[in-house]
């Protein structure tokens, strides 16, 4: 958001970004009729049982996230109604669920939340949905931007590289969390009229853009380093001699060699953004009640754990499972793509 240099290099590269995705695919089966590197990797991945299980878990999370409204409809509850407040038999005088285990019952599978008495199951479903939406969008944007800027800087070198390098330095040194906490209210004050509520889409868009603005730097720096090593290689020299344009060299010659680090970075970035987003919500910036969110649930869980441990359990466990599964998946992808790095 506040990186003045990023729009200008990003604009032309965004276009070529699509090219690269298209060109990368034909790049893979080009190798041979029998077994392309991609196919080899797929076979290696299928043999890795941890990887397959993690992949299934991750897919499961995405499916329930996408299907959350359908599931909620079939289940007959929504995450916004304060069931416990409307029905006095559900919450006691102190605002805690009357039934044991956080008020779990046939009606409320995961119980109800203390004080407000909302349905934890649907709340969690929508929380997963919102968190994954934000984290996926951010991870995709960060990777795209990182690839474009990192490759360009590495290949062009000279002044461009110097300038991009300094921007990256600043971004990496920036105290992001503090920045979010202090600037969040200011930004919202500017964008939202005083007699209007902050629209949720605005919160989501600004969250994604802020996390993207600070997130691309590390991927860009990594890829720049790789490109520096690659650009002196003979096949690049050869391409230059045949008169290939810089764009062609970057996206046709260099990029295919970089898919391994990019994929690994992207799979590690996504769970990181899930936790970052939850952490921000925990600190009171980002999504806030009544919008369901993993971080908001964790924040409440931390307040009530002494009297209602169950409420902490569900968001906590699901998040741990998701993040671990996604990280293991990232490991397996790396092992499959780059067998030399295997332990």
């Amino acid at each position: 958001m506040t990186t003045p240099a990023s729009p200008s290099p990003a604009a032309p590269l965004e276009v070529t970004d699509e090219d690269s995705a298209a060109s990368a695919k034909p790049g893979n089966p080009k190798g041979s009729e029998s077994r392309s590197p991609g196919r080899l990797a797929w076979i290696r991945f299928k043999r890795d049982r941890t990887g397959v299980i993690s992949a299934l878990v991750v897919i499961f999370f995405f499916v329930i996230g996408i299907a959350a409204p359908l599931i909620a409809k079939a289940y007959g509850k929504d995450p916004y109604t304060t069931y416990g407040q409307n029905d006095p038999s559900l919450l006691n005088d102190f605002g805690f669920p009357v039934k044991p285990n956080g008020g779990m019952s046939g009606d409320f599978w995961f119980g109800i939340d203390p004080q407000l008495g909302r349905d934890v199951f649907t709340f969690l479903l929508y929380a997963i949905r919102n968190s994954l939406l934000i984290a996926t969008a951010t991870a995709l944007l960060v990777t795209g931007l990182g690839i474009a800027i990192g490759l360009t800087a590495g290949y062009l070198g000279g002044k461009t590289d110097y300038l991009v390098g300094r921007i990256i330095d600043v971004l990496l040194a920036f105290p992001q969390t503090l920045f979010f906490i202090s600037f969040w209210p200011v930004v919202l004050n500017i964008l939202v009229a005083p007699n209007e509520a902050t629209p949720t889409w605005l919160t989501v868009v600004s969250l994604i853009s802020i996390m993207t603005a600070f997130g691309w730097a590390s991927i860009a720096r990594l890829l720049r380093g790789e490109v520096l090593a690659l650009r002196e290689r003979e096949f690049v020299e050869a391409a230059k001699v045949t008169g290939a344009s810089p764009a062609r060299i970057i996206f046709k010659e260099l990029l295919p060699n970089l898919w391994t680090p990019i994929l690994i970075q992207a799979t590690l970035a996504l769970p990181m953004y899930v936790t970052t987003e939850a952490g921000l919500a925990f600190l009171g910036v980002g999504l806030s009640d009544p919008t369901p969110d993993w971080g908001v649930m964790m924040q409440y869980g931390a307040q009530y754990y002494q009297s209602d441990i169950t409420y902490m359990l569900f968001p906590g466990l699901t998040m741990v499972i998701f993040v671990i599964a996604f990280n293991l998946l990232g490991d397996s992808v790396r092992d499959a793509l780059d067998p030399k790095a295997r332990r």
Partner: protein, 594 residues
């Protein structure tokens, strides 16, 4: 007392998340309602009777079983903001000031919590004449400062005159206004530092008397003088602005050490003579305070009750909503609590400048979900529903329930909708604001409030304001909020100290406590008239009647709760007593158990 800048006890802290020790004793569910757990006291102890000269004689009655010695430790999230008596208005500062500041009068608290106004520095609660325009007090013998020098009438007058100085703007202003007859009293008198004394205060050093000649009658001056803003300050040791760092004590304890925002220590003042003091016992040798402890870790420390925490009290926050069930349902913990009802009212101010139609304001009152809000605060343990402006502590309080809130505490949205339709304001936008950042409870109450308003046909817009600038923003005349969370504690238990600051149209200004910006001629007039009634019982009735009339006709606020607070103390702390004036432990009555 004063403005309830004192936040709710339902404080929560993010820091608590760091100590997620999943203790085995945690239960999964809350269990049913059991009324036997007890919601705490039902007696309001904030009302005060005026004591005699006999009552004003020291020493304070001994507490059975109390022994001298030891140190009591207090925990609090924040430091005392001011130590200079003339700059003290805030309840939290006053709780400490009781240990080292003495005023002409003071509140004597009996073991059952009932209170009497007695002479503290003065021999009695003063003599009124001339219809409340002249008041005379006589000083006791044997009063001394912490260096052993005598406390004289000059020192008492100096304390009053310092209230006019340019650096003491934080203090109370009732006396200054009454003495000069002007709200802009600093233009009349600029404080004692250019050698001039205030006309209206006459002293007689030989007879040890001090006489106040007021421009406007103030039949309750003896209550006003109990505020620490009018405490005595030694003429010789007055260091002006620096006095805030190092005040001179005439009470049982003196400041021994102070590391701002970290800790503070009070040690015994050897020159304090208990025979002059009808109010204070002083058993511990010292008091220490630890700042920066948020309410959840604070309660967890007191629940654990280990080591030095056995000598510790919750000095500022009460037990937060998240722990209240655990504390009240565990007998061993409940034994270590005190609780009491605050004198103040928590309410929602309706901006009458923006919501001009009284029907809409009445509809808001009908729709407000008191029951849901209180359940979030912790149910009956968090307080009683408020249905009037005056609290039961106020002299003359008469129960009234204009909007039938006790019958339907969950809110009558149907009735509200009908009223709204009648006023032709269906779909009226209501911008609701609350302080964000310190109290998690408001993040929950906003949801039930928004739900109720939607049901009643309003269009709720939730606009939280950061808690550090909350008061500054809602006290702006041109703010853009319709309903604002607010609270008010009376400075002394009389209708005047509630209704005048909150509803007198003449006070409307930036920073004024008339947050509703209510400016109705007949109310302004009635306030002026009621203030002059000298008979306390008649005055009380008049204020109660005015209260009901304001709520019926204008409905400028939505009363929420008279709050009850629970405080934990360590197992070695004795003499625990709740102070309704400053909602804290009465420090000078505590002792260390042998």
């Amino acid at each position: 007392m004063s403005l309830s800048r004192r936040n709710f006890v339902i404080a929560t802290s993010v820091a608590a998340g760091g100590s997620m020790v999943l203790s085995a004793c945690s239960s999964g569910g809350g269990g049913g309602n059991s009324t036997s757990n007890g919601a705490g006291t039902h007696t309001y102890t904030g009302h005060v009777t005026v004591g005699t000269a006999q009552d004003s004689q020291g020493p304070a009655p001994e507490i059975q079983g109390a022994v001298k010695g030891g140190n009591i430790n207090g925990l609090s999230p924040s430091d005392f903001s001011h130590l200079d008596p003339q700059r003290i208005y805030f309840a939290w500062n006053s709780a400490l000031a009781l240990l080292y500041v003495r005023c002409l009068t003071g509140y004597k608290i009996a073991p059952d919590g009932s209170q009497k106004l007695v002479g503290d520095l003065a021999t009695d609660t003063g003599t009124m004449s001339n219809g409340g325009k002249t008041w005379t007090f006589t000083l006791k013998d044997g009063l001394k400062w912490e260096d052993g020098s005598d406390l004289t009438v000059e020192d008492v007058r100096h304390g009053i005159e310092r209230g006019f100085a340019s650096f003491t703007t934080e203090g109370a202003q009732y006396l200054q206004t009454a003495l000069t007859g002007s709200a802009d009293f600093r233009s009349v008198y600029k404080g004692p530092y250019d050698g001039k004394h205030l006309e209206g205060v006459v002293i007689d050093s030989a007879k040890k008397t001090i006489t106040f000649n007021l421009k406007t009658a103030q039949p309750q001056l003896n209550f006003i003088l109990a505020m620490h803003s009018y405490g005595a300050v030694p003429v010789k040791h007055d260091t002006k602005e620096k006095y805030d760092k190092d005040p001179v004590s005439c009470g049982p304890y003196k400041l021994a050490a102070h590391a701002p925002d970290k800790s503070l220590k009070m040690a015994r003042n050897p020159h304090w003579d208990p025979k002059t003091d009808p109010i204070r016992n002083a058993y511990p040798d010292s008091f220490s305070f630890e700042f920066g402890v948020e309410s959840l870790p604070e309660s967890d420390r007191l629940i654990a009750d280990s080591g030095n925490d056995q000598y510790t009290i919750m000095a500022y926050n009460g037990v937060p909503a998240e722990r209240i069930q655990k504390v009240l349902t565990t007998p061993a913990l409940k034994q270590r609590t005190i609780n009491g009802l605050l004198t103040g009212l928590y309410y929602y101010a309706i901006n009458c400048k923006r919501i001009t139609d009284p029907k809409v304001r009445q509809a808001l009152n009908y729709a407000w979900p008191l029951e849901q809000i209180r359940r979030i605060y912790g149910g009956p343990s968090a307080g009683d529903y408020a249905t009037s402006v005056l609290s039961p502590d106020i002299l003359g309080y008469a129960h009234q329930d204009v909007f039938g809130k006790l019958k339907k505490p969950q809110g009558d949205t149907a009735k509200a909708k009908a009223l709204l339709k009648e006023a032709g304001k269906l779909g009226q936008t209501i911008v609701y604001t609350y302080p964000q950042g310190r109290e998690s409870a408001y993040e929950k109450t906003k949801i039930v409030i928004a739900n109720a308003l939607k049901e009643a046909g309003f269009n709720p817009v939730i606009k939280p304001v950061d808690s550090t600038s909350y008061y500054d923003q809602v006290q702006q005349i041109n703010n853009q909020f319709d309903v604002m969370w607010f609270g008010w504690s009376p400075d002394w238990p009389s209708g005047y100290s509630v209704i005048q600051p909150l509803f007198d149209g003449a006070t409307i200004a930036n920073g004024s406590n008339n947050v509703s910006q209510l400016n109705v001629p007949w109310i302004n007039q009635a306030i002026k008239q009621n203030a002059l009634i000298t008979d306390p019982a008649k005055a009380g009735d008049a204020w109660a009647a005015l209260d009901e009339k304001i709520m019926t006709q204008e409905a400028p606020i939505i009363p929420e709760t008279f709050q009850r607070r629970f405080y934990l103390h360590g197992s070695k702390v004795g003499g625990a007593l709740f102070d309704p004036n400053f909602s804290a432990f009465v420090l000078y009555k505590l002792y260390v158990k042998a």
